[in-house]
């Protein structure tokens, strides 16, 4: 057996010391994944065992006891029923040639671009395991939402395509592709498993504020280690042109906003696009009345290129594009997409409000800021306490400063001289 290392490969292995500490840290703190199908199989198995025992005791036992050696009259029907509900069967037909369903378990938590692919903004396929652990890519245009706990039954037409690596474009590697004609939710979970919150996932939030020019949010900006906040550079937030006003007063709090362009918000409900709107622009000439931050929240993240503005419940957010008075706040984002925000007020420096007429074209960018002060500092006001978040040019990392508020956690203020905006990351630990 060959036991010599490949020198070039080995040097490259060593060279990978260049991998960012952030990724290394992420790998060290990674929580093991328990595949959904395993959970489902486990509980399904327990339920099946229970039913079997029950059937044995209640039905079969008495029958055997009372009529030894006699085959029940309805045994054929029972067998047929069992065949119909037998999971994991591919293109099985009954005696009449009718195709039987495949029972599957969806493969990943929703929403996730890992398990759902989108076409024209609408999910059109998902991944599912059958009970033989075979992974299917299920094409399905009639998407109405799935819950990760659902077991779905796929009534398929007779196309089950065996995929090879070359045929598969990316993402997961399913073994089969199937075109579903119907998907039914079969059962709801009895109890929700108690999941301990991951501090890295749940309690990290961040603030953005004080956009002066067109703010380009690029993949460079990753706000947390655990939640993907990287935003493709084609998504631009023209924060200086505002003030923009984005409101979500709707209930239930499961509406997503997908910002797919400069000024457009696409509304999704349960994963289905319902309408598309332009950012509503508003302007008030009385800047003193523009203090809207209390009880308003904003949360933003993205996954695999889908940028989402996510508001929870009846929370609503205002993005005020005035230089120096631009507020965004978010205190806690949970994994379900809701944002729980407490009243945190961020006040930028002494920017002069820019007068933007209400009739200004939506797409017109502002290339020069009215007022672009040096990063002298920022002020954070929380519960009436003012804290100066200044930048120390002599510090090792002059563009970063951490502020810790007792009992509240820490804020990291960052300044990007090239992008002309500040970011504050808050760790709510």
């Amino acid at each position: 057996m060959k036991n010599e290392i490949n020198p070039a490969g080995f040097r490259l292995f060593r060279r990978l010391n260049c991998i960012s500490e952030r990724f290394v840290d992420e790998a060290l703190t990674y929580e093991p994944v328990v595949p959904l199908w395993k959970t489902v199989l486990k509980w399904g198995g327990i339920a099946a065992a229970f039913l079997f025992v029950l059937a044995d005791v209640i039905i079969i036992g008495p029958m055997l006891t009372k009529q030894p050696g006699v085959i029940p009259a309805d045994s054929e029907t029972t067998a047929e029923t069992a065949a119909e509900t037998a999971p994991g069967t591919e293109a099985v037909t009954d005696a009449a040639g009718k195709r039987l369903p495949i029972t599957m378990t969806i493969a990943e938590t929703l929403p996730s671009c890992e398990s759902f692919e989108y076409k024209d903004g609408v999910p059109y396929c998902f991944y599912a395991y059958d009970n033989e652990e075979k992974l299917y890519r299920v094409l399905w245009n009639n998407f109405t939402g799935l819950n990760e706990k659902d077991v779905v039954v796929v009534d398929h037409n007779d196309v089950i395509k065996t995929l090879t690596y070359d045929e598969y474009p990316g993402g997961w590697t399913p073994q089969y592709e199937i075109t579903a004609i119907d998907v039914k939710k079969e059962n709801e979970p009895e109890t929700e498993p108690v999941t301990e919150p991951d501090p890295g996932e749940e309690n990290v939030c961040w603030f953005l504020y004080r956009g002066h020019r067109t703010m380009t949010v690029s993949t460079r900006w990753v706000f947390t280690q655990t939640r993907l906040i990287a935003i493709p550079s084609q998504y631009r937030y023209d924060l200086a042109l505002g003030p923009y006003e984005i409101r979500n007063m709707e209930d239930p709090p499961t509406i997503w906003y997908d910002v797919n362009g400069t000024d457009t918000i696409t509304y999704y409900e349960a994963g289905v696009q319902t309408e598309e709107k332009k950012f509503r622009r508003s302007y008030t000439s009385n800047n003193d009345t523009f203090d809207l931050i209390t009880d308003h929240s904003f949360c933003l993240w993205t996954s695999d290129g889908i940028t989402e503005l996510d508001f929870g419940g009846d929370l609503h957010a205002y993005l005020n594009g005035h230089p120096g008075t631009y507020y965004l706040s978010c205190d806690r984002c949970d994994t379900e997409g809701a944002a729980f925000c407490e009243a945190v007020r961020l006040i930028a420096g002494d920017g002069v409000p820019e007068t933007v007429p209400e009739t200004e074209p939506v797409t017109e960018p502002v290339t020069e800021p009215v007022d672009d002060p040096e990063p002298e500092g920022m002020t954070l006001e929380k519960d009436g306490t003012l804290i100066l978040c200044d930048f120390d040019a002599d510090a090792k990392y002059p563009d970063e400063r951490e502020l810790c508020v007792e009992g509240e956690g820490c804020l990291t203020c960052r300044f990007s001289g090239t992008e002309s905006f500040y970011m504050v990351e808050k760790s709510c630990r």
Binding site: P7, G9, F13, R15, P32
Partner: protein, 185 residues
């Protein structure tokens, strides 16, 4: 003890810092060294050398990710030790990893350019950035920590073959990127 507290202990020159570091990160560091060195004594020595180096570096250093920072030290020390020992033969895992890594380079002499080219760092990290968490985890665990497929599969909830396929594809993508950036040909 939180990472920040441990760092503060280093700053105070409190020797508990090393004890706490060992308690909290020792197993990670040992495993990392062992994956490279495949020798228990050597791995233990590297682990201990890592603590000494950390003690000498903090302050002034104040690592943002303490464990990752320590891991980098341990990794470097392990490779240095490996070089010192001039091992002619390696275990099957290391051989496999080296062969897999070689797939990322079009020609064997392409490694010379990679070693010197700082663009490589950017490309690799940008590539990892573009990956989802599971893929990134698998890549880093395999090619930074030298973990086996089985261990990665256990953590990701995928099968060993899935992990193998995933990493195969990632190596191909990385190779393409390196070629595109002109780092390898």
């Amino acid at each position: 003890m939180e990472d920040a507290d441990i760092i503060e202990a280093y700053f105070r020159r409190d020797e508990d810092a090393i004890t706490e570091t060992k308690v909290k990160f020792g197993p990670h560091l040992y495993n990392l060294s062992f994956n490279i060195l495949k020798n228990r004594e050597d791995a233990e020595e590297c682990e201990n050398d890592t603590y000494v180096k950390a003690w000498n570096s903090i302050p002034p250093a104040r690592p943002a990710f303490l464990c990752a920072w320590l891991a980098k030290i341990a990794r470097n020390l392990s490779f240095d030790r490996l070089k010192e020992k001039r091992q002619a033969r390696h275990d099957a895992d290391t051989v496999t990893i080296s062969e897999e890594m070689a797939e990322c380079i079009a020609a064997p002499d392409g490694i010379e350019r990679i070693i010197d080219d700082r663009t490589f760092d950017r490309v690799v990290n940008a590539y990892l950035e573009s990956c989802d968490k599971v893929h990134r985890f698998a890549f880093v665990r395999r090619y930074y920590f030298g973990d086996g497929y089985e261990e990665i599969a256990k953590y990701t909830g995928k099968t060993k073959n899935n992990v193998r396929t995933m990493l195969y594809r990632m190596r191909g993508e990385l190779r393409e990127l390196l070629e595109k950036e002109g780092i390898t040909e």
